[in-house]
């Protein structure tokens, strides 16, 4: 395994320019959670010209709907959900300045093109490793859309949160590279 790249959020264009598909990355700092319903509402608010409930510039969005926290814990199980469902909204969030997205599974060609344009990378966390990933989250706070329950927007504070760069801004795609190497 390659030595992991360490990143602290919020991310800058320079951080993004240094990342290549297949890089292992450990993230420190804050991740913003949002999945289907939160994305839909964020984009609807933008369409109506409203001010968003949080600043998105430089942020990394984590596609996750955690399970409820046990008493005394910041969070329950918290692995990534499948990303393509957010493809319809992702470009709008990139226009607002997000620099990273964490999920699992492939993205649409349009989203991959937008990532190059807006300098944003797509990371994958290990799907179905929600217990292991929960241990990397030290704090969680609901910051918007509490009525959405597991789909509310949270700020997660993370330490050594492990992800892999899937799509970089140079056209690299770790899924395509991986399959090409092992297809028989």
């Amino acid at each position: 395994m390659k030595t992991p790249v360490r990143l602290t959020t919020p991310l800058t264009d320079k951080d993004i320019e240094n990342l290549k598909a297949g890089d292992n990355v450990l993230i420190d700092g804050v991740l913003i959670t949002a999945r289907d319903a939160a994305h839909k509402r964020l984009v609807e608010e933008m369409d109506r010209g409203k001010t968003l409930p949080l600043e998105l510039s430089g942020q990394v969005i984590y596609y996750v709907g955690p399970s409820p926290a046990r008493p005394g814990r910041p969070i329950g199980s918290a692995g990534p959900t499948t990303s393509y469902r957010m493809d319809a909204y992702a470009t709008r969030l990139m226009e607002e300045g997000i620099k990273g997205m964490i999920g699992k599974g492939k993205r649409s060609p349009a989203v991959i093109e937008a990532m190059k344009k807006y300098k944003c990378v797509y990371f994958a966390a290990v799907g179905g490793a929600g217990a292991l990933l929960a241990k990397k989250i030290t704090a969680s706070e609901i910051v918007a859309y509490e009525d959405l329950g597991p789909e509310a927007i949270r700020k997660l504070t993370v330490k050594d949160f492990p992800v892999i760069v899937i799509n970089d801004i140079f056209g690299g795609d770790a899924y395509i590279m991986g399959v090409d190497r092992f297809k028989a």
Partner: protein, 280 residues
Amino acid sequence: MRQIDKQTIVHAVKNLCIEANYNLKEDLTSALRMAREREKSEIGREVLGQLLENAEIARKDLYPLCQDTGVAVFFIEMGQEVSVTGGGLYDAINQGVREGYSEGFLRKSIVVHPLKRVNTGDNTPAIIHLEIVPGDKIKIDFMAKGGGCENMSGLTILTPAAGIAGIKEFVIKRVKEAGSNPCPPIIVGVGMGGNFEKAAILSKKALLRPIGTRSNDPDVARLEEEILDEINRLGIGPQGLGGSVTALSVQIEVFPCHIASLPVAVNIECHSHRHAEVIL
């Protein structure tokens, strides 16, 4: 006629929901360990190691194996010589789900209407498949079925002329298109025969067999092996990052069908295959 109190079922269902979401069954951990042995990709082996570690953390530190604790799916075999007292069977199951998902700190993932999409708040209603069988027992099989893998499933009705080649092509195409989405290494449930709805139910029921067991029908068992081999040559690998283990098992259930039809359903299951059963 034997009688079972509703509350006995509520309690049993509650325990099944919690058990399945925290304890990965031995057949699956052993399949993951074997997969790690034969996986050719370094990152693939690393991922499989993390999945085994995840199962350890879930069990010891009480975190659900996955945050998507699923739709509560039940396959129930109800003996015709047993009756439920004190309330209805379906109410008992839904009450058990309500209690299990609340007390087990499991995520509530059901919306009340496919278009209105407001969360029901207690993970009910469950999806219940009921079969009446001889005897005086109730067998309850519970599966926590995640959304990510369920979304990658599919059904077709082939012509009889399409035969084995057509079946293979359809199943493998589903897995290839699903790629990294359903959290590989996956388990592939296939329902073959019956009709439109029967094939779909069989494809889910096929997942309840212990992982890696083959069909009793030697021709079907051979087809399971052949499809598994072809899937594992796609190169998708653990988490879709490339590798030689894309599926842990292909499991086919069959049923007689119409002279005109060859229904085939594929139900894809993620590596976090959570199910538990009890006989009351």
